[in-house]
């Protein structure tokens, strides 16, 4: 049976990593998940900027997005930890505080929408884990990635706050490693697994610190014999890809550790070739990795 979701693409993937959007349609489609495009969606909005400097605007714009999915009787599927964090925190805050819910609905009333408290938000990894299941995922693998050792980086905002996100252990997440095993690859056991990618350091004023953080993390991954990094959040992708490329020009050694969005790895395992998953658009590429995918 085909499951249908309102596809919440966010901003980062469609603009900067469109090949990830392509991989989402393709791989999830192969697993009988139908993604419904919703043109009315706006930015979630982004939690670190908008969420913090004006909480009410953040909640209201998010509630409008949730209401749109409700009106279509669809659950939301996200491909970004930040969108998931914004939308799920909004549900959490509004569903437990009726006064706030009324206030937010008054704010969005002029848009013609009203949030009812029924919307559900799922990160695509949760859909794969809880709806599709690891067994079906494994069965979809046509080319096991058995020569690859993959360092998984789950990212921050899908893990915490634990009582809201309810995804995995914030200090020892194992879900992504199970997913890597399902593709026939080996997860890398490295030390700094739950350390942030450093996105805000890079963006809001401490680039040198971000380079140092990346250097430490990549070095740990290399020590654990990783061939590549797997992420499930576009900001993390950008940081490990573009961030690594910038940092390695000056501040850190050349680790040449490519990064993949998990959906790209899934696409490869389902039989796509390396060009089809958008690898030529990555900043960090490594020929020895390509040789291991066959």
């Amino acid at each position: 049976m085909t499951a249908k979701y309102a596809f919440f693409k966010g901003c980062f993937v469609p603009v900067r990593l469109p090949w990830v959007e392509k991989a989402a349609y393709k791989t999830l489609g192969n697993l009988d998940i139908q993604l419904v495009d919703v043109d009315e969606f706006t930015c979630c909005p982004e939690p670190v900027g908008v969420g913090i400097v004006d909480n009410l605007t953040w909640l209201a714009i998010a509630a409008r997005n949730l209401a749109i999915a409700e009106e279509k009787n669809l659950d939301i599927l996200t491909i970004c930890n930040g969108c998931t964090y914004t939308l799920r925190n909004t549900i959490h805050k509004l569903n437990e505080n009726k006064t706030l819910l009324t206030k937010v609905n008054e704010i969005i009333a002029d848009t013609g929408h009203s949030y009812k408290g029924k919307a559900k938000v799922h990160h695509f990894v949760e859909v794969l884990r809880d709806d599709v299941g690891l067994k079906k995922l494994k069965n979809s693998v046509k080319r096991p990635l058995s020569e690859l050792t993959v360092a998984t980086h789950t990212g921050c905002h899908i893990l915490s706050p634990k009582e809201v996100m309810n995804f995995d252990n914030p200090f020892d997440p194992t879900t992504l490693d199970d997913f890597v095993v399902a593709l026939g690859a080996t997860p890398a056991e490295y030390d700094m697994k739950t350390m942030c990618c450093g996105w805000t350091l890079m963006t809001y004023g401490a680039r040198e610190g971000a380079y140092k953080l990346l250097g430490d993390k990549l070095s740990d991954m290399k020590k654990a014999k990783a061939d590549c990094v797997a992420v499930i959040c576009p900001q993390c992708f950008y940081q490990f890809d573009m961030g690594q490329w910038i940092a390695s020009r000056k501040d850190i050694p050349q680790y040449s550790l490519p990064v993949f969005f998990y959906l790209q790895l899934l696409d490869l395992a389902m039989g796509a070739n390396i060009e089809e998953v958008g690898y030529s658009l990555h900043k960090v590429q490594n020929l020895s990795l390509v040789a291991k995918i066959r």
């Binding site: 901003c11 980062f12 469609p14 603009v15 469109p18 090949w19 959007e21 392509k22 043109d39 009315e40 969606f41 706006t42 930015c43 909005p45 982004e46 670190v48 900027g49 908008v50 969420g51 913090i52 400097v53 004006d54 909480n55 009410l56 605007t57 209201a60 714009i61 409008r64 008054e106 704010i107 969005i108 002029d110 848009t111 929408h113 921050c156 905002h157 893990l159 915490s160 706050p161 634990k162 914030p170 200090f171 739950t194 350390m195 942030c196 450093g198 996105w199 805000t200 350091l201 963006t203 809001y204 004023g205 401490a206 040198e208 610190g209 971000a210 140092k212 953080l213 958008g278 658009l281």
Partner: protein, 165 residues
């Protein structure tokens, strides 16, 4: 060295977040905080020392490096929630015009385009790549709705009226 208490907005913060008084400055949070990679920052330095000893902690640019990953709060042995206080300081800093340009620009982008960062000057390039991948071209988003929301919450006035450049 005893922590001096000078911060004028301290009472207000304490009332809203009474748990911050429980902090023993054990530094456990600093172990898991990504912002330790920035010079001179740890949750103990910025959060405790600034909240309790600086007169205007909202002026400290390092508060903007916090990604709200909540790791400090998950690991805290005393259930102090540094994130809440750092977020409150950011809010105050924004209203006073101390927010970094990157934050202000990002918010303007959301309000004027519905996207979190500038896209329209490079839209042709983005759409060319999307076209090559067989994806639909990107369109403008429904910003009339965002405008209606922002008119009611007053966020635009905070940006326009702010002291920042």
């Amino acid at each position: 060295m005893p922590v001096q208490i000078q911060y004028k907005a301290k009472d207000r913060l304490l009332k809203k977040y009474p748990k911050i008084e429980v902090c023993l400055k054990c530094n456990t949070c600093a172990i898991v905080d990504p912002v330790i990679y920035a010079n001179g920052f740890s949750p103990t330095n910025t959060f405790i020392n600034n909240v309790f000893s600086a007169s205007e902690p909202e002026k400290n640019p390092n508060i903007w490096l916090c990604v709200s990953c909540h790791k400090c709060e998950e690991i805290c042995p005393y259930e102090v929630k540094p994130v809440e206080v750092i977020e409150a300081l950011k809010d105050e800093a924004f209203e006073k015009g101390y927010a970094p340009e990157a934050i202000r620009e990002e918010i303007k982008q959301v309000l004027t385009t519905g996207y979190a960062f500038p896209i329209f000057q490079s839209l042709a390039y983005i759409n060319r790549i999307r076209g090559n991948l067989g994806l639909k071209t990107l369109q403008e988003r429904k910003i009339e709705d965002i405008k209606k929301i922002v008119n009611k919450t007053g966020l635009e006035a905070k940006i326009v009226g702010g002291k920042s450049r």
